[in-house]
């Protein structure tokens, strides 16, 4: 495909811009999936993308030692009533250092439910580093629901590192996000979640981390804003099974008639496991609004800036 953009409708192009910051075909390896089909794919000399034999997803192979390359694998659901499930497996070779940009956008102008469930499994070999970004977004004027249920499974070998940033700011009616990780000696896992719900949207997040190796660590951070009548639940479970460090933090701003539930769980199965959890839920502090008003912002402008900064 010579130009990833020209082949798609305006809605799909807009969505690719939002979820993967793409205005044309990206450099390096990519796979673009629209309504359950791969509509553009490119491998690079170091990164191979191929279809699974059962046709239910793709496999991404990053050669050992690959440095500074990107992989883009955005997904768009543009058809109302379409339900998509895909299994993508990533094999990150020893010592590689790459950025992976995923993300899913649903455009639903119809009355039927549109859904995408992406199951991503990462096998990160020794000393490899991955920065994984995943944006979720929904839009459309139809009454049909927009549903996203991503599952991310991370296997981290010795001294490997994965940083995952997930963002879901608007337009998704229902989401259940599950992230499971297991870490070997010296491995590090960092997860940053940013989430905003409004209207009657529902979002559930589950993190399950097994700290198995000597000196491994995990840091799970969630910042969320719940508006309107929306509901959010945050479950974070970290098991420290060795000399390790685990930290989980859930910080939520609640507005209107929303509901936020945070259930952090830490279990130390080793005397030298150092585990911390923090959870804070509250409305925007009145003094923060007052401070910004003294700079000339109206109350609603102040609230908007505080939320924007919080989710930045």
């Amino acid at each position: 495909m010579s130009n990833a953009q020209t082949a798609y409708s305006e809605d799909v192009q807009d969505m690719l811009k939002v979820i993967a910051d793409l205005t044309g075909p990206p450099a390096g390896a990519y796979n673009i999936r629209v309504d359950g089909k791969s509509v553009g794919r490119q491998s690079s000399s170091n990164i191979e993308i191929k279809s699974k034999e059962n046709g239910q997803g793709i496999e991404i192979y990053v050669r050992p030692g690959t440095k500074g390359e990107f992989v883009h694998i955005p997904v768009v659901v543009d058809q109302s009533g379409f339900s998509d499930i895909v299994y993508n497996d990533f094999y990150i070779g020893e010592g590689a250092d790459v950025d992976i940009v995923a993300g899913c956008g649903i455009h639903n102008d119809g009355t039927h439910l549109s859904q995408h469930d992406g199951i991503h499994t990462f096998h990160v070999e020794k000393n490899a580093k991955v920065r994984y970004t995943e944006k979720h977004y929904g839009e459309g004027n139809g009454s049909g629901e927009r549903v996203l249920n991503p599952v991310t499974v991370v296997h981290l070998e010795e001294n490997s590192y994965l940083e995952m940033e997930t963002v879901q700011i608007e337009g998704v009616d229902s989401t259940k996000r599950v992230t499971n990780g297991d870490l070997k000696d010296g491995a590090r896992l960092v997860i940053k979640e940013k989430l905003m719900t409004s209207g009657k949207q529902r979002a559930t997040t589950e993190f399950n981390v097994e700290l198995n190796g000597v000196g491994c660590s995990a840091n799970v951070m969630s910042r969320s804003v719940a508006k309107g009548e929306s509901f959010q639940a945050f479950y974070s479970k970290i098991d420290g099974n060795n000399v390790c460090a685990g930290h989980s933090e859930c910080d939520a701003i609640i507005m209107d008639n929303a509901c936020v539930k945070a259930v952090p769980e830490i279990t130390a199965n080793h005397v030298d496991a150092s585990l911390i959890h923090e959870a804070a839920i509250g409305k925007i502090a009145g003094e923060q609004i007052t401070k910004l008003m003294t700079l000339g912002l109206s109350q609603s402008e102040a609230e908007k800036e505080i939320v924007k900064g919080f989710l930045k």
Partner: protein, 248 residues
């Protein structure tokens, strides 16, 4: 440029079903480009008066005129946009918002690092080290205070109100703070009201107002009021005489 006319402010003590008068019929005039320090014992109503000027509290009775316009009913942001600025005694923390973000909101423009440097270096902070720092618990009280002052300076307002700028800051910051206030006074751009207990700050004033028990006990030129305050201060009390917050 600012006139407070017969300002009274009461709060209701729900437990005792009683009304408590914090300010009683306070009238005060602040001239163009003047430097006024309001002082007096704790609980006397100084900070309340500062908040009433900014609109954070609304007076129970009385009128406020700013540059001839009655602003009594205006909201905080409307007064801010007319040219009134305020620094908090306890600076507010924000998760996610950075020093650069707040300076952008304060000045309503994206500033380059060298522009930010002008305001941050004045309060002893290096822009390169601070612009991307979040205004959160990772910053010390002294750093927050200095950022607060830099924000107000960057706005370039007609009337700056500082509520106990010396509270909670370290010795180094205090020395620097005094220099900043000396510069503001010498610039003669806009009027300044500082709520303070510190003799070093009182010394910079053109005019000193003493508020005690919700009323103006004294008002006049520094040369007239300051010696009285220092001579009245009892030997057991370091009030006013403290040279620095640490010695206070």
């Amino acid at each position: 440029m600012l006139e407070l006319k017969n300002i009274s402010f009461s709060v209701t003590d729900d437990a005792k079903h009683k009304s408590k008068e914090i300010l009683k019929n306070v009238s005060l005039t602040v001239d163009e480009d003047s430097f006024v320090v309001i002082t007096g014992p704790n609980g006397g109503g100084k900070s309340t008066l500062a908040k009433i000027i900014m609109g954070i509290e609304k007076p129970t009775s009385g009128r406020i005129l700013f540059q001839g316009q009655d602003i009594t009913e205006l909201d905080i942001h409307e007064r801010a946009n007319l040219g009134i600025g305020f620094t908090f005694q306890q600076p507010v923390r924000f998760k996610g918002l950075t020093v650069k973000d707040l300076l952008r909101l304060a000045t309503k423009k994206d500033m380059r690092t060298d522009e930010l440097c002008v305001y941050l270096s004045e309060v002893g902070l290096c822009a390169a080290d601070y612009i991307n720092r979040e205004i959160n618990a990772s910053l010390s009280g002294g750093e927050l205070k200095r950022i607060e002052i830099a924000m107000l300076r960057a706005r370039g307002v007609e009337l700056s109100v500082f509520d106990e700028p010396e509270a909670g800051i370290d010795l180094w910051s205090f020395q620097n703070l005094i220099r900043v206030f000396e510069r503001i006074r010498d610039e003669k751009h806009g009027s300044v009201i500082i709520i303070s207990h510190q003799e070093r700050i009182l010394e910079i004033a053109d005019k000193i107002v003493v508020i005690s028990g919700g009323e103006i006990a004294k008002t006049g030129k520094k040369e007239e009021i300051l010696p009285q305050l220092l001579s009245e201060s009892p030997a057991c009390c370091e009030f006013y005489k403290a040279k620095t917050p640490r010695e206070a």
